[in-house]
């Protein structure tokens, strides 16, 4: 039985938890950098909206079925040995290496990898900074101390390679983003198949925002190092506006797929592992097409699909205890053709 999850309550709860985590993580706001408050507030709103949207998304009949089935299989102790290698493989293929994109094209994989790592590493650095969870202090004469939620983590010389890597990490991720976004925009501007089907708000705007974030982010470094601080206020404000717009667009636009994509790991579990209940084999029970005998995904899959369709007020019961969903796609086409020629007889229209 599907439950209507209270999206608004989940959104508020996530916002409250995040605000509490910011408060305690920054030691009662003592470590909180007030110059970054805009980013922190936008992140809280984005997290709340993301939680609300996510809750509404998984409450949809087809999504809820996969969500429940994926977690049921994952949390089954009986199943553990079955997915011990399956889940890491799926995580590598779908999340970290994204090798499935390679099948869509090597250039697309490079493009996506650059954008993915650019965004993810940038977020891993900037979110703890804006929340006041990490900070740096100078230990005279030329050593920096890195603090994480009030704990001393790392001490390094300012001029050493470690210092350079730490302070320029966001420039590196910005460079990854600029190359990746340029490649993506190039494809979207030239690929004839994309030109009419892509949507500005969904496909292009997020790329433009990422580009603006990366360029203005690097400009902050340029202003500090080479422009003697000129334009800093203007650049930092522009950067903040772009970042806030991007953060608030995540729950409602293209970047929602960041939280959707892990569902493909759940789907892999669903497709390849049994339910982990008594009487269920290691693999899902097979089901042949009712007409040609070709394998359908599994008996459970077909049952769940029929239930989902019924939830959506659709029932393809064909009589005689059979359903249209008992057929493979090829046989669905053939039986429709047979019905057509049964109606037509040996004549032309």
């Amino acid at each position: 039985m599907r439950r209507e999850l209270p999206a608004a309550a989940v959104a508020v709860a996530v916002a409250v938890l995040l605000v509490a985590a910011i408060y305690f993580g920054s030691r009662g706001l003592r470590d909180f950098d007030s110059a970054l408050v805009g980013y922190a507030v936008a992140t809280v709103f984005a997290a709340a909206a993301l939680a609300g949207r996510y809750t509404r998304w998984i409450s949809r009949p087809p999504t809820w079925r996969y969500f429940r089935a994926g977690w049921t299989r994952f949390l089954s102790f009986r199943n553990f040995r079955r997915y011990a290698t399956l889940v890491p493989t799926a995580l590598w293929r779908d999340i970290f290496a994204q090798t499935f994109i390679m099948r869509r094209g090597a250039t697309r994989w490079v493009t996506h990898a650059l954008i993915f790592w650019g965004v993810v590493v940038s977020l891993l650095i900037t979110l703890p900074l804006t929340f006041g969870w990490i900070r740096f202090t100078l230990v005279p004469p030329a050593t920096y101390q890195l603090w994480l939620v009030g704990l001393p983590i790392l001490r390094f010389p300012v001029e050493a390679g470690t210092g350079f890597a730490v302070f320029h990490a966001l420039n590196v991720t910005a460079a990854l983003l600029i190359v990746g976004v340029a490649m993506a925009l190039w494809r979207r501007l030239l690929d004839v198949g994309n030109l009419t089907t892509q949507r500005f708000g969904f496909d292009l705007l997020p790329l433009v925002l990422l580009f603006a974030i990366a360029v203005t982010g690097m400009a902050l470094t340029a202003s500090t190092l080479w422009w003697e601080g000129r334009f800093y206020w203007f650049v930092s404000l522009t950067h903040q506006v772009a970042v806030v717009a991007w953060l608030l667009s995540i729950p409602f636009g293209k970047f929602f797929h960041i939280v959707q994509r892990p569902a493909s790991v759940g789907v892999t579990l669903y497709q390849q592992v049994g339910q982990g209940i008594e009487g269920e084999g290691a693999s899902p029970q097979p089901m042949p097409c009712r007409r040609c005998g070709r394998s359908l995904p599994s008996a459970q899959f077909v049952r769940d699909l029929k239930d989902t369709l019924r939830d959506l007020h659709q029932d393809y019961d064909m009589g005689g205890g059979a359903s249209l969903q008992d057929l493979c796609p090829s046989c669905k086409r053939v039986v429709r053709g047979q019905a057509y020629y049964g109606l037509l007889g040996k004549r032309f229209v």
């Binding site: 949809r60 087809p62 996969y66 969500f67 499935f100 994109i101 099948r103 869509r104 004839v192 198949g193 994309n194 030109l195 009419t196 089907t197 293209k254 797929h257 959707q260 994509r261 569902a263 493909s264 789907v267 669903y270 009712r290 007409r291 995904p297 899959f301 699909l305 989902t308 369709l309 959506l312 007020h313 659709q314 029932d315 393809y316 019961d317 009589g319 005689g320 059979a322 249209l324 969903q325 057929l327 796609p329 090829s330 046989c331 669905k332 086409r333 053939v334 039986v335 429709r336 053709g337 047979q338 019905a339 057509y340 020629y341 049964g342 109606l343 037509l344 004549r347 032309f348 229209v349």
Partner: protein, 205 residues
């Protein structure tokens, strides 16, 4: 806004597969045909049937409704597009829910592909590749009034699968006396005519 659509008349199909070859030229699924030409009863007949996406209007796109990832977009003019590559999680719900057997799944690329009515062409006033290439007008592109003025047969948008009615944006061309294509009852009648023995799956020839 597109007012024109496809009209599918299997009785005119000669199985030449020009539609499939032309479909492979489409830029949105390069090198792969989204049109399927099937032999209807391969052992005893050369009859073939072309299948394109029917772009279901009521219920709206069952493929999109059963998609857990909200990956299948529908344009304002009712054209059901192939899955958004960033969202498709390759669950295959769409493939097996589609009453017409249309979507294709590339599991390794984790991407569903389907006919999108050559949106790059039709949105610019051109015909879809399949209709452009079809030598017998088994796949014909135009508006309803044009069809009635120039073609024989009855263009219907309603297909019944048992008790489930599906109204589509793409038309089937049927004999004048037929108000709809009722798949389950027609298969039952055909089976009775050929004197097939009663069996559990009565509607499967």
């Amino acid at each position: 806004m597109i007012s024109k659509t496809l009209f599918v008349d299997p009785s005119r199909c000669i199985g030449c597969r020009a539609c499939e070859a032309a479909c492979r030229e489409c830029d949105s699924h390069k090198g792969e045909s989204m049109v399927m030409v099937d032999f209807v009863d391969r052992g005893s007949s050369v009859a073939t049937q072309p299948t394109v996406c029917m772009h279901c209007a009521d219920p709206v796109a069952p493929c999109a409704q059963v998609c857990p990832a909200l990956a299948i977009p529908i344009t304002p003019d009712g054209v059901v597009q192939q899955a958004d590559p960033s969202r498709c999680i390759a669950c295959r719900n769409c493939v097996y829910a589609c009453p017409f057997g249309v979507p294709k799944m590339d599991l390794s690329a984790r991407l569903m592909k389907k006919c999108n009515l050559c949106y790059d062409r039709t949105s610019q006033g051109l015909q879809p590749w399949c209709a452009q290439a079809c030598p017998t007008q088994a796949l014909w592109y135009g508006d309803y009034e044009e069809f009635v003025a120039h073609r024989q047969g009855r263009a219907v948008r309603t297909t019944w699968f048992g008790t489930q009615r599906v109204v589509t944006r793409v038309f089937h061309v049927l004999p004048e006396e037929a108000p709809s294509l009722d798949v389950a009852s027609l298969l039952g009648e055909a089976r009775r005519e050929v004197g097939a023995a009663p069996e559990e799956e009565a509607w499967v020839l």
